[in-house]
Symmetry: C2
Subunit: 253 residues, 2 copies
């Protein structure tokens, strides 16, 4: 915890391969996987999912699907993975479909990162995306703890959309933190350059995920995942599950 | 080598911890350590140093100093390292001092990265800095090979100045390459945002090296290292030494 008379610190880890460079002990760690895991998690919880269990493999997803009554979801190469029932698109998780259900979602990059943050002693782990930008920012300011914005990237390669989201958070809350972190300055700069047209920025720079998802005909997913506050809930990780923060307080889960 | 009817690729590795993600085999790898190793190397060669031997420890530097007639140089915590004779500032390497001499320089981040690139089968390794921006760009375009811009960073943490230099290179030569690399798009964006006042950009974002070097009273070094083409030579690595490219061709070293 920061000293009472100084601001807590904020750092940005642009790739899971860099997370080890930062001291996550007692931090709030924000897992960022904008296209599309953390956008889909926010959307499912916003639309009433009971909770989300993130797992790092299709096999574990299938296994859980046999053990509990849940929706199993995940994609490989743009298609629903064999043995699972649903995909990674936030549009699959309408209220009519997901309300009251448990969603088990495979997210390779994001789940790996989440477990790394746990192992390193993070105090709280939340997930962030443009879909819940404002509630993430409000939470981080209210916590008054050191923060690490942890980008899931793509197979450890830095990606534009997660960096843009980190920059959006930094731009909004930087006055509440001490930021001596070059990656944070870089993230804020690209966000400010791109913010008028995030989709156009992704397209202009041939962002790898832009190319991958448009190749599958998923422009609509990208546009949704770059829209602010479409699903304003705060997913908080506890005991292997992502809950809405509000529910944790209410139900003392 | 790229196919004759397609452009070669260009990737940017923002930290040595990320270099392994890129295929360096047969590439031209540009080692970037703007503050101050690669700026000082360009300056020493521009001012007539015979060649520069980069080593990764003070001990190796001292050892070489006993074996050959050379200038040993390196700093730790802003001071000349114990047992060495000179520091890391480009201002120490005037023509009057360095012409005809061999410089042995300790550069922890840069030398480690150079050896990684060698191990991964790089075809050519050069060093880049704003001091030799134009000749680096001209060389990369002329080679028509795949390129990796490899930032030395700071103890694996991404830094602003090396990313800015990668962005400057990309902005100048991107039409000659196929670039599907989010880090390259990020680097070009921050360079375009910062280029009118690189020093001001470093200061505004509390860049870690800006804080470190100004703490030692080295504003002048930072300003020089952000000045384009002050030492327009191309340092090329061969057999453990960095030569001026011109000398290699002339003398068939």
């Amino acid at each position: 915890m920061a000293l009472s008379n100084s601001k807590p610190s904020l750092h940005t880890s642009l790739s899971p391969a860099l997370l080890q460079l930062y001291d996550a002990n007692n931090c709030v760690v924000v897992i960022i996987d904008v296209l599309r895991a953390t956008s889909t998690i926010a959307t499912a919880l916003y639309n009433g999912a009971k909770y989300v269990i993130p797992v790092d493999s299709v096999a574990k997803c299938i296994e859980l699907g046999k053990q509990i009554n849940c929706v199993t979801a995940g994609e490989r190469d743009g298609k629903i993975a064999e043995g699972l029932s649903y995909g990674n698109s936030p549009f699959e998780y309408s209220r009519a479909f997901i309300e009251g259900k448990i969603l088990v979602l495979t997210t390779t990059n994001g789940t790996k990162l989440l477990h790394m943050a746990l192992d390193k002693g993070a105090k709280h782990i939340i997930t962030g995306s443009f879909a819940n930008l404002s509630v993430v920012c409000d939470y981080l300011v209210a916590q008054k703890q050191n923060v690490i914005l942890a980008c899931a990237a793509w197979k450890d390669r830095v990606n534009i959309e997660d960096t843009l989201f980190a920059g959006a958070v930094i731009h909004r809350i930087k006055d509440h933190f001490t930021i001596n972190c070059d990656s944070s300055g870089i993230a804020e700069t690209i966000y400010l350059d791109a913010k008028k047209d995030l989709y156009g920025y992704m397209k202009k720079h041939n962002a790898s995920h832009y190319l991958r998802l448009t190749g599958y005909g998923l422009e609509k997913d990208i546009r949704y995942c770059l829209t602010e506050d479409a699903a304003d809930v705060l997913p908080l990780y506890e005991d292997g599950k992502l809950f809405r923060l509000h529910d944790i307080h209410k139900n003392n889960v």
